[in-house]
Each structure stands twice: as structure tokens, then as C-alpha cells.
Amino acid sequence: MKNRSIFKIGITTLLLLVCFVSFATAANGPSWIGAFFVKGKVGLKWKTLEGSTAYKIYRSTDGGEFTVLKSTDKTQYFDADISSGTVYRYKIAAVTASGELESSEKTVSIPGVKAGDFNAPSGLGIRVDRNKIFLSWDQVNGAMAYNIYRGITPGGEYELVGSAQATKYADKEGITKGKTYYYVLTALNEDFEETKYSAEVSIKFGISLEEQKALEASENNIVLEDIKLTFLFDIKTAGHAGDMNQPTDVVIDSKSNIYISDALNQRIHCYDNSGKFLYSFGEKSEPGKEDEAAEGSFSYPFAMAIDKSDKIYVSDILNHDIQVFSPDGKFIKRIRINTTPEQEKFRPNGLKVLPDGNLIVTDAGNHRFMKIDQTGKILFEVGSRGAEDSQFIFPDGISVSKDNIISVVDVINCRIQQFDMNGKFIRKFGEPGQSAGTFGRPKAIIESPIDNRLWVSDGLGNIVQIFSPEGVVKAAITKFEDTDNILMTPRGMFIKDGRFYIVNRVPHQLLVFKIG
């Protein structure tokens, strides 16, 4: 009981002391209505003090001395000159005839972090999942957003690739399988002040098509060979016509002159073996009259073949014919194939001249290949639309080997079918896919005179695969070491005198390499 009385006395004394101190320090200036941080400003409002002629607003920053911020005759003020993570104290002094009468102080803390105290993100994690690169990091105190920068060399130049408010980001634009990417991050505060770069993280984004083919070949006990190609030159010019526009095929004559079918310029160009333009031949067919096209004219020259006397055979998939020209470009004759009303028009995608003058030609319009004579008479035909053996879905390029094996590119079935010279099915190889020995959009096929291997261009994979004569994949070419040129929708190819020629359709060029 005694102790309780003592406790009451103590409390009472303490309260009196607090009241005394408060009275002693109480301001006699304006009374506050409020001081708040709102919408990026500090709003100050106070009551009118009778006898005042003006008010002075004093501000202290982070415990510093009070200085006059503003004088006003109003009873409110918005302080916009503030910084994130800063503590401000305000007091109002009423200017009266007897001097300044100060209000009490109000403290306002501005949210966020000061730029100087703002750290770059840390704890970066990186991983690849399917077609994205995922980044994660630790939250930075006071950060309102993060910028993600990407580079292709370590410590090298970075480009801003995105921003995130969360602590994770999925990068999926502009990244290529098989390449390594380097990332740094920054954090942004409310004032969009940005920190320095974080520590760099890097990751290899999947594997390239070439690596995947090699990997899967390895898994299948296939060892892909390294084919050495030395870049010699490329050809883009179409002579007086400017540049080529989507060339399709290439053949080389006995004098090593180069002939290129320039599909959208509707001409054939001839160059010497150094790539110097010599001449062009062919006129543009009259639109709408493709089936009655003038001799020597083209609508869409596509495949070419050359015989032992250097006569140039050019197929046209819109004129539905094959035309024969002398080496100097003079029209010799036109070969047409009769089709029934039930059939689609003849669309010769692939072409090969046999030593006896007969031709082997694919007909994409009717999903077949044929042996025809120089008059267009069909000696035999193989194929209909389908996926069974001896059936095709849009046959394309064709080759005939020294061993008299006919190889036909079967585009949509993603395979090569082989036949004897009577059209009897022998074998097939390839299937849809991206691993070694599979195809996306196989286009043209040639037999190398060096080792009888089959080279197949692929317009989807942008790749050339090399197969044994029996169809075992041996090598894959996707890029070149000594040139920046890359394969983009490759098509027609030719190998002669140790040189490899390949038409790169969309870059509108012919690339020429030395083999070895």
C-alpha cells in the first residue's frame, strides 16, 4: 500500500515535470494544421495568427540548421524541392510588429533511398528455360524499378533490353541459340536516379543448330567431319540490271564460267571464274501470258542444268517449261510437258541432264519426278502426293550420281528418296527435325565429283548437310570462319574444280569457296 502511494507521487511529479518542460518550450507562433508528404511534395498548412503580416517557412535538412525556405502571406505552402530518403523539419514564423513568433516543429521523412546510399542489385541468378533467359536478383531497398542491360562480350558494351519492377526478368527478344550473353542490372529510385551496374552474370543460351546436330550425332555415334571451306568471293551484281533479286540456282560450264538464275529479275547472268560479270540473257515474259511466253523469256527462272556441250537448261515454274540456251545465251528451244486437265500444271523445280541428252526433272505441281526426252516426251514418271515410298509432297531438287542413282529432295516429307535409273525405289533417308541427318526445308541436292557425297541445302535450318552416297550424314555446314556471310535460305549448289558454289537466296548472292 505504501509502495503504491510512492508510485502515484512519482507519476504525478513526472507528469508535472513534463508539463512544465512543455510549457517552457511551447511555441507561441502559428498552430499547425498539418505537414505531409504527398504526390512528391511536402504540403504545409497552418492557422492564421492574428497580427501577422507574413509568414516565414524555415526548413532543416537531415538535422542541419534551419534556414528560411520561403516567405509568404498565405497559410499554406508546398515544398517541391525535396529528395528521396531525406528527413526535413519545418517550422513557421509569423512576422508581427513585435517580431517573429515561431510555431512548433514538424518532421517529414521522404520515402525512398538517397542516390548516394542506393546500391546496385546483387545476388543475381541466371538460367535458361526453353526460349528465354531468366534473371533474378535480391530486392534493393528503395528501388522502384530495375533496368536490365545485355552485352555479347564480357565487360563489354551493354544495351538496355528491358525494365522490371519485380526482382525477375525474362529476356526473349533478340537472343540467338548458341550465343553467350552478359547481363548487368541497375536500380532506379523514385527520382529515376540510377545506380551503377551490378556485377556481371553470363550464360550461354542453349546450343546452336550446328552444335545440336553435332551433339545428337555424337549421341547416335555419328562423328561429324570438319569440312574446311575457304571463302573466295561472292557475287551480287546483275550487271546493268543492278543487283540480283532472289537468285535460285547456279551451274558452271566447261570453261569455268558461272551462270546464275536471277528469279525476280527474270534473267540468267554469266560471269567469269573470278566473278566478273560478262552478260545476261532472257527477257521478262508478259504477265498473264505465262503459258504463251515468248521464246527466251522468263517469268520465274528456277532450276538450271548444263550438258556436256555447255548448253544451259533453265526451268521456269511460272511458265511451266524448260528452255535450252547456247552458252552465249541464244535461245535454242523450249520443252513443255503435256498435262491432263485433272493435273496441276508442270512445275519443274529440279533439273538434271543425263549424258544421253534425256532429262530427269521433278514436277512439284504433281508431286512426281520424270525422265523425259528432248521433246518433252515422258519416258517414265514416279510419284504421287503422299508419304509412302515413291510418293512425294512437293519434290524439289534432284541429282543423278555417277553410279546412276537418282536422289530426289522430298520437301515436306523432309527426306531424300533414291531410285535407280528405271525409277525403282532404293532407299530413303532423313526426317523432320533439327538434329544431324534431319531436315527442315530441304531444297537442292548435288553430288560432289570429289567423293560422290551428297550435299543438301536446307532453307529453314540455313544449313548444308553432307551425306554419304547411301544417306549417312557426314558433315554439316552452317557458318564460315573467314567471312561474315552467313547462309540465309540457301538453295542451288555446284561443285567443280575444287570450288563450292552456293546460292544464298535472300541475301541475293552467290558465295564461292575453295574446298579445303
Binding site: 526460349n131 541459340k177 542453349g206 543448330l209 545440336q212 533479286n245 532472289q246 535460285t248 528469279a263 525476280l264 517469268s299 520465274y300 528456277f302 515454274i317 511460272l318 512445275r347 523445280n349 512439284a364 502426293r385 503422299g386 508419304a387 509432297i393 512437293f394 524439289d396 520437301v411 515436306i412 523432320p432 527435325g433 533439327q434 534431319t438 527442315g440 526445308r441 531444297k443 532453307g459 529453314l460 535450318g461 540455313n462 552467313i486 540465309m488 535460305t489 538453295r491 537466296r505 535472300v506 541475301p507
Partner: protein, 379 residues
């Protein structure tokens, strides 16, 4: 209820690829032709190295999905679009949305839609009005692509956008007037110095045959030949030169806008009304063109309104002008019997009797000032 909702969501998700599958089956994009395994023609289900389950992402000068399209539309599988949509040297319709196929785009490769795998509606013989409708299309309004109510196509309403434009494979323009970047026209409108060569390929006196009758000084057999508006260096035509030089930099578009909705109100798809030659004066004011100033011939209603009949045909007053020879006076609200610019001049040489007249006068004036004296008979 929750289970039912879950079931509905699952079925919806499952049905999405099935919908695409069903739409492709039997279409021109059913490349297998068998209705089975048709997805495999473009997609590979496992470990796809490319985007959209493609075995790899093709690269080329085209964009996005079009690079994959090209692997067939390169002539090997189909010839459709090989020389047009897939000819980067020609002009193509500006992409709508992120790609040529997919959300917001014109095409959907999984849906034959209204033909050519188009998902836009066909209206009045063309597909353009789905977007280029009653209001100017956002992003192209500055070029006036408004198709509703235009007066340019008056041939019985049978003209459609595709008679001048094509979305794919349009002729690349040699030059364009300022602000025009991608007109996707069927022919070059400015192969030389003058903008309007494509316009004149129709308006050449033979087609369309709009001038078959009328007054205004044009004989019924004198087919209106706008080609005479060309500055060909041998005849003096309406000048379309800049104020800083003698090189023609404009042409028909200087006064006309074939797509300007204001053309309906102004007449003759002029960009401004020419009643009482107001449009003429809007250029011939100060520095923009030879000005009509204080020393210019009188314009207004003369005391003797019969004084213009000294020539055959008579020079027209403002309310009698009939440049195209059809549908009566061009500016019926013009002041009656008022002499104005077009009383003596015709920018398209209307009424010229065949003898070249300087300053595109309706009649030759010559050293004897016969044009002047036709009215001023007392002189």
C-alpha cells in the same frame, strides 16, 4: 461449381490447338494433304530449336513469321506470292500488328478465313475498308486514306482500292511527295520530274471518258486530256514549280487529293473549294506563285455581261465554268456573270482549240491580242 469451372478452363485450353488443327486440315496449308501429322510440316514438337516450335528460326530480310513462310513461298512448294509478297524489292503494305500473321495482323496461317488466309472482312469488292473505313486510319490520316464518300471513283461505283493499290508487290516509287512513304501503287507515279504519271495513265483522254458533253467551251469530241497538264518542256502548262527554283516538284497532288474527304465538298477532289477561283487565288496571292495584285485585270461582274461572246465558244463567267464537261457548272454557287481567273484561264487547257496558248489561256491571244479583243470589241 469449382470443378465445373476447372473443367471448362482445361477444355478451353486443350481446344485452342485443336481449333488451329481443324482450321488447317483441308486448307492450302494442309501440306501433307492427308489430314494427319499436318502440324509437322512447320512445327517440331520436342526440343524445337526455333521459335513457335519451329525446328529452327529462319533468318532473312523478311520479318518474324514471314521468314518461315518464305521457306515454302520461295517457289519450291508454292508460287503464290513469290514475286509479290516475297519480293523485298517491291513495296508491301505496312505491317498491321507485330507480324503478317497472328494477333492483330491481316493473315492467320492457321485459318483460311475470307481467302488467302485473310482474317479481315471483304467489303464491297475489297478488303481495305475493314481498316480504312469511314474515319481516317490512325497513322495514315495525314495521307488521306479515307475511303468513304470519296468522289474520285465515280465509274458506277465499280472502282475499288485495288485498281490503284496492291497490298503486296506494289511498284517501288522512284520519288514521293513529302509525307508520302508507302503508297503501294500499281505503277510509279513519279518516274520523272512530275508527280502524277500514274494518274495520267488513266486520265489521258481515253479513260475514263468523263468528258463527253457539256458547255464551258469543250467540244463533245474533244476528250479531256489531263496529260496536257504535264510540264513536258515544249508547252506551257500549269506550273507546279517551287518558289525557289524551276524544277517541278509536284503534280496533280498540288491541287488534288484523291482520298481527301474534303474533296467531296470541294469538287473534283480539290483540296479546297474553287468557287469564284478562290483556290486559284489561295496560291496566287503573295510569294507562293505569280501574284494577282493591284495591276491585275479586273475580276468581278462587268457592266456589260454580254461582252464575253466574241469567241466561240464563249469565255465562261464564274458560274458557267464546266471543266469536265459533265453535270453542269462546276461552281453553281459562284457569282453570276462574274469574271474570274477561270474565265480566261484553264489549268488543264480546257477549251483550248488545239493551238497552244501561253499561260494556259482558253484561247490563243497572239500578237494581235485576239483574246482580249474578243471581249473588248471597241478596241
Amino acid at each position: 461449381m469449382k470443378k465445373l469451372l476447372t473443367l471448362v478452363i482445361v477444355l478451353t485450353i486443350i481446344s485452342l490447338p485443336m481449333t488451329a488443327f481443324a482450321a488447317v486440315a483441308g486448307s492450302l496449308h494442309d501440306l501433307t494433304g492427308s489430314g494427319t501429322q499436318l502440324c509437322f510440316a512447320c512445327h517440331t514438337p520436342h526440343n524445337a530449336a526455333g521459335a513457335n516450335l519451329w525446328s529452327s528460326t529462319p533468318s532473312g530480310t523478311f520479318s518474324g513469321v514471314q521468314d518461315l513462310c518464305y521457306t515454302c513461298h520461295d517457289g519450291s512448294v508454292t508460287t503464290h506470292g513469290t514475286a509479290t509478297a516475297f519480293n523485298a524489292a517491291l513495296q508491301q503494305h505496312t505491317p498491321v500488328g507485330a507480324d503478317c500473321s497472328g494477333a492483330g495482323a491481316c493473315h492467320d496461317v492457321h485459318n483460311e478465313g475470307t481467302g488467302s488466309f485473310l482474317v479481315v472482312a471483304e467489303t464491297n469488292g475489297n478488303y481495305c475498308e475493314s481498316c480504312h473505313g469511314a474515319t481516317p486510319f490512325t497513322g495514315a490520316e495525314g495521307l488521306g486514306d479515307h475511303t468513304a464518300g470519296i468522289t474520285h471513283f465515280t465509274n458506277g461505283g465499280s472502282f475499288t482500292c485495288n485498281q490503284c493499290h496492291t497490298p503486296h508487290g506494289a511498284v517501288a516509287q522512284t520519288t514521293n511527295p513529302a509525307g508520302l512513304t508507302n503508297p503501294i501503287l500499281l505503277a510509279d507515279n513519279q518516274p520523272g520530274a512530275y508527280y502524277g504519271a500514274f494518274c495520267i495513265s488513266c486520265h489521258n483522254g481515253t479513260a475514263p471518258a468523263v468528258a463527253t458533253s457539256g458547255t464551258g467551251g469543250q467540244a463533245a469530241t474533244d476528250v479531256f486530256d489531263y496529260a496536257e497538264a504535264l510540264n513536258d518542256g515544249t508547252e506551257l502548262k500549269h506550273p507546279t514549280i517551287t518558289t525557289t527554283g524551276l524544277t517541278p516538284t509536284n503534280g496533280c497532288n498540288l491541287c488534288h487529293d484523291v482520298h481527301d474527304p474534303a474533296g467531296t465538298a470541294s469538287g473534283y477532289i480539290l483540296t479546297s473549294d474553287n468557287t469564284n477561283s478562290a483556290f486559284c487565288v489561295s496560291c496566287h496571292n503573295v510569294a507562293g506563285a505569280p501574284p494577282v495584285g493591284g495591276n491585275t485585270h479586273f475580276t468581278g461582274v462587268p457592266t456589260d455581261v454580254a461582252m464575253n461572246n466574241g469567241l466561240t465558244p464563249a469565255l465562261p463567267w464564274a458560274n458557267q465554268i464546266d471543266e469536265d464537261g459533265t453535270a453542269g457548272a462546276d461552281w453553281p454557287s459562284a457569282t453570276a456573270n462574274m469574271m474570274t481567273c477561270e474565265t480566261c484561264h484553264s489549268v488543264h487547257r480546257q477549251g483550248n482549240t488545239g493551238v497552244d496558248a501561253a499561260y494556259f489561256l482558253r484561247h490563243e491571244n497572239g500578237l494581235s491580242n485576239q483574246l482580249c479583243r474578243a471581249c473588248h470589241t471597241a478596241n
